[in-house]
């Protein structure tokens, strides 16, 4: 069943209540019910997938399907905890090697591997297998583009929107619940990473305070307390309200042009953001290949051309930062980016609280994350 706008009717069991108690206190029972009805497809099962998947499985989604036929490598095992080390010498795929650990993290979640390539996915398949979200992990930019388009083309009952563009026309229709497949993309490069969200038109609940107009009295200002006595002494009534937000599609984001007139704010952005886009450019120019430590010179040339075309100063991205993005990512960076990605997926599928809109970058040198609205 879809978890988008429909209330999940089944109550959680006592066992689930006990297990999920601490998180239900945080995001509420409704959100938990939606989570537990959510089916998620992850395209790509590199180490970053292990981090994201661990968090989603622990949160109690309905099912997680991993799609990655690439063979398990020693490097994969080395930078992750999710693959079964006993399968190192077996002829196994990355997706399959992750299953047993994921299953044991939370046996209540259906975890499976799906064979095939991302190009083989169709709107019908997404609808028939009832996915609420597709996560493209460490995928080449062209795959991101096609998956992003694919998710937007899925409508209820498996119909494909013929023009393939985003569906906004029927959003007010109450007769038909529109299925939206939420699209996420994430990757880590060196000590940096990004997470991208396209939730189309996203509706969510959020808690806000309602304060009935009453004569303001600063009550219980106790002379004995040294600290401000207000810690909870004036609780505010809260209620859930519905809000909505519009998201840009991945294509528009790729076409982002930075305004050279706003140099001040551009300088304040993390260089990791420019690096992320530079790496997309590199993939486009190199048939989807990932840039590595040997590609520094090619990247420098590419960056100069890119900066020139946008009339940006070349020193927005220097060689040191560039190099820092070419190593295989370390475990803590994967954990951070994976944590952020999972958190946003949880918000998105549970329709509770607003997921960020729309491009998060983690800069491992500054140890800082930031969100931009692009596209």
């Amino acid at each position: 069943m879809t978890s988008s706008a429909v209330e999940a009717p089944t109550d959680i069991t006592a066992q689930e209540a006990e297990l999920y108690d601490r998180q239900i206190r945080l995001w509420g029972l409704d959100a938990q019910k939606r989570l537990r009805a959510s089916r998620i497809l992850m395209v790509g099962a590199p180490p970053l997938t292990g981090e994201i998947a661990k968090n989603l499985v622990l949160a109690g989604i309905r099912s997680l399907t991993l799609m990655d036929d690439s063979p398990l490598s020693a490097d994969d095992i080395d930078s992750s905890f999710i693959y079964d080390p006993s399968l190192a010498t077996a002829a196994t795929t990355r997706a399959e090697a992750a299953l047993s650990a994921l299953h044991s993290l939370n046996p209540m979640v259906e975890v499976s591997a799906k064979s095939g390539q991302p190009e083989q996915l169709t709107a019908d398949l997404l609808a028939n297998e009832d996915y609420d979200a597709v996560l493209a992990i460490s995928q080449p930019v062209e795959v991101l583009q096609s998956l992003g388009r694919l998710c937007r083309s899925v409508t209820y009952d498996g119909e494909v929107n013929s023009n393939g563009a985003g569906n906004n026309s029927n959003s007010d229709s109450s007769a038909k619940q529109r299925r939206q497949v939420q699209f996420f993309a994430a990757d880590c490069f060196g000590c940096h990473g990004y997470v991208f969200l396209d939730l189309q038109r996203h509706e969510f609940a959020t808690e806000l305070a309602e304060v009935p107009p009453k004569a303001g009295q600063d009550s219980s200002v106790d002379p004995k307390t040294a600290a401000v006595p207000a810690a909870g002494s004036q609780p505010v009534e809260t209620h859930l309200i519905k809000r909505s937000a519009d998201y840009a599609d991945f294509e528009s984001v790729l076409r982002t042009r930075w305004d050279p007139a706003k140099l001040g704010s551009l300088r304040r952005l993390s260089p990791a953001l420019y690096l992320a886009f530079l790496l997309f450019e590199f993939q486009r120019a190199n048939n989807g290949a990932r840039a590595g430590p040997n590609d520094v010179d090619a990247l420098k040339t590419l960056w100069r051309a890119f900066a020139e075309s946008q009339q940006l100063p070349a020193n927005l991205l220097d060689e040191a930062v560039l190099s820092s993005g070419l190593q295989p990512p370390s475990c803590p960076v994967l954990a951070i980016v994976g944590g952020v990605a999972a958190q946003e997926v949880i918000k998105a599928v549970s329709h509770k609280d607003d997921p960020f809109n729309n491009f998060f970058v983690f800069d491992g040198i500054q140890s800082c994350g930031s969100v931009q609205t692009l596209g």
């Binding site: 029972l29 809109n357 994350g369």
Partner: protein
């Protein structure tokens, strides 16, 4: 490849201590082992509970009841990394973990959930001159801080904000919010079953300063005999309870009827405007015999609102269980310890309290002659209260101070609020453009001359209220203090604008991570969200006297 292999080399030779094997501890241990650290010690006094399993992922159902540190070690060893891990099922506060112990490490990582242990480890690391990485999380928020003696501030250099301290008189006489009830109940638990502590009395407080502040005679004088009885009861709550065999009926009557009646005689307490006087329970409610017990199903039970009679029923059964357990204790010196994972102890605080009266209010403490309109909009409404495009109107005058339409009120931005006649008790109606979010902000002008009202140094304003409910955004993962998301809303922006030193994100980051920079620091006073004490961080109760 140079940096990566150097990192691995350093990692494999380093001796690391992880203090705590809970939520953060599990993540840390996993990251350390996978990153190439080989000599790791981990210490935690706790055992595994089923409610840990949703995030403390090194533990499984079959491990419930076992030591966290030991199971964490076993689980990461299965990653096959050849790590040398020493696990201590012990309290880091024990004497044996002194300076010598800490000196044996190259770095210490804190993954604790309480301040006392943090202070202790902080001091030992300073004494041993070992770098410390301190971290903590609660709900959607978290922080990581590096502490290096002589280089950075230490954990105790700056007074930790949000020290949850509750004056004795408030707890005993005039509780007004759920957290007071929880504290009261914990004290009652101690009085009856726990380690005797004269500071944790629950009987009405005749030394309440509010009583002596008025010129009228205090009940202690007017009702001398009652006061004497109360005095002697104060010292002997335990022996009184023991003498009555912990009879739940008599306990209920004393606590929720007799003591309440006594409190009511302190009439001056109930004259304060906005404070509701308590109502003693009737005999019918106390008996509660006819009423069904609350639903026993876990989730429903804890989240439904119970009637007075149901509360009494639960109280009785909790007292029954606890007195039996107390009777079975091994020696006269032994006592019960309150444990949030112990169902009988958790039932003990009544989830519905009859002495609480909600007093909703969001107050902005500031200096209106300094705080500008622009700052109100950007730092208060947008950054802290997550409004997207607020409109602010000065109530009663129909004057629009801030308009969400670009260009309309920009000239107001640099002006201090006082220029618009906004002073103490001024009321500002704030609407987000979505029209369904209304917030009344009441200005409390902090008089700099008044020591009690003055804002702490370096703090421009304080928002008083339950911020977690008011905020619409959530923070990113604990290890990175990511700023709140860029505004989502009716327009998609084509340029990047939200992050940067002047953006809301930097301010939050500054508060969470930057010890050295006091400028424009935000101090938020936030209320705990849930009634029970079972949040991820046990609140530290400090009694001021």
């Amino acid at each position: 490849a140079g940096n990566a292999s150097l990192a691995r080399e350093v990692a494999s030779g380093s001796r690391v201590l992880v203090v705590g094997a809970g939520g953060i501890g599990c993540e840390l241990l996993k990251n350390l082992v996978v990153s190439g650290f080989r000599r790791i010690s981990i210490i935690d006094l706790d055992t595994i509970d089923v409610s840990n399993l949703n995030r403390q992922f090194l533990f499984r159902k079959e491990h419930v009841g076992q030591s966290k540190a030991l199971v964490a070690k076993q689980s990461v060893l299965k990653y096959g990394r050849d790590a040398d891990i020493t696990a201590y099922h012990d309290s880091v506060l024990e004497e044996k973990y002194g300076v010598d112990f800490f000196s044996g490490f190259d770095i210490v990582l804190i993954a604790l959930d309480n301040r006392a242990a943090r202070n202790h480890v902080n001091r030992l690391c300073l004494a041993a001159n070992v770098p410390l990485v301190e971290s903590g999380s609660a709900g959607y928020l978290g922080q990581v801080t590096v502490i290096r003696k002589g280089v950075t501030a230490c954990y105790e250099c700056k007074e930790q904000q949000k020290q949850k301290s509750y004056p004795a008189c408030t707890i005993r006489n005039t509780p007004s919010e759920p957290i007071h009830c929880v504290v009261w109940a914990k004290y009652l638990f101690s009085q009856l079953f726990g380690e005797a502590d004269p500071d944790q009395d629950v009987a009405p407080d005749t030394e309440d300063p509010e009583l002596s502040s008025s010129s009228s005679t205090t009940p202690a004088v007017a009702n001398g005999s009652q006061a004497n009885e109360q005095q002697s009861q104060k010292q002997t709550t335990r022996s009184w309870a023991e003498a009555t065999g912990y009879d739940p009926s008599r306990l209920l009557k004393k606590l929720f009827a007799d003591d309440i009646r006594y409190l009511l005689t302190m009439s001056v307490l109930w004259q304060r405007p906005g404070r509701r006087a308590p109502t003693p329970l009737t005999d019918e409610q106390l008996d509660g015999s006819g009423d069904a017990a609350p639903q026993s199903d876990g989730y429903q039970r804890d989240h439904a609102v119970w009637s007075a009679a149901q509360c009494c029923h639960v109280f009785r059964s909790a007292v029954d269980q606890l007195r039996r357990r107390y009777a079975e204790r091994s020696s006269a010196d032994d006592y019960l310890v309150f444990d949030k994972d112990d169902q009988a102890a958790m039932d003990f605080p009544n989830p519905k309290c009859y002495v609480c009266a909600p007093q909703p209010q969001v107050t902005l403490r500031c200096d209106p002659s300094i705080l500008t309109v622009g700052a109100l909009r950007d730092r208060v409404l947008k950054a802290e209260l997550a409004m997207v495009a607020p409109d602010v109107e000065i109530e009663g005058r129909g004057v629009i101070l801030v308009s969400s339409e670009a260009g309309e009120t920009e000239s107001n931005d640099p002006q201090p609020l006082a220029r618009f006649g906004i002073g103490n008790h001024a009321r500002l109606r704030c609407d987000d453009f979505l029209q369904r979010y209304n917030l009344l902000i009441i200005i409390a002008a902090a008089d700099p001359a008044d020591a009690e009202q003055r804002l702490p140094d370096g703090v421009d304003f304080q928002i008083v209220g339950d911020l977690q409910s008011v905020q619409a955004t959530a923070e990113a993962a604990p290890a990175a203090a990511a700023p709140p998301p860029a505004t989502s809303g009716r327009k998609r922006r084509s340029e990047a604008v939200e992050s940067g030193p002047l953006g809301s994100g930097e301010a939050k980051k500054a508060r969470l991570l930057d010890e050295a920079d006091d400028d424009d620091e935000l101090e938020i006073v936030a209320a705990p969200k849930s009634v029970d004490g079972a949040s991820s961080q046990e609140p530290d109760i400090v009694l001021l006297d």
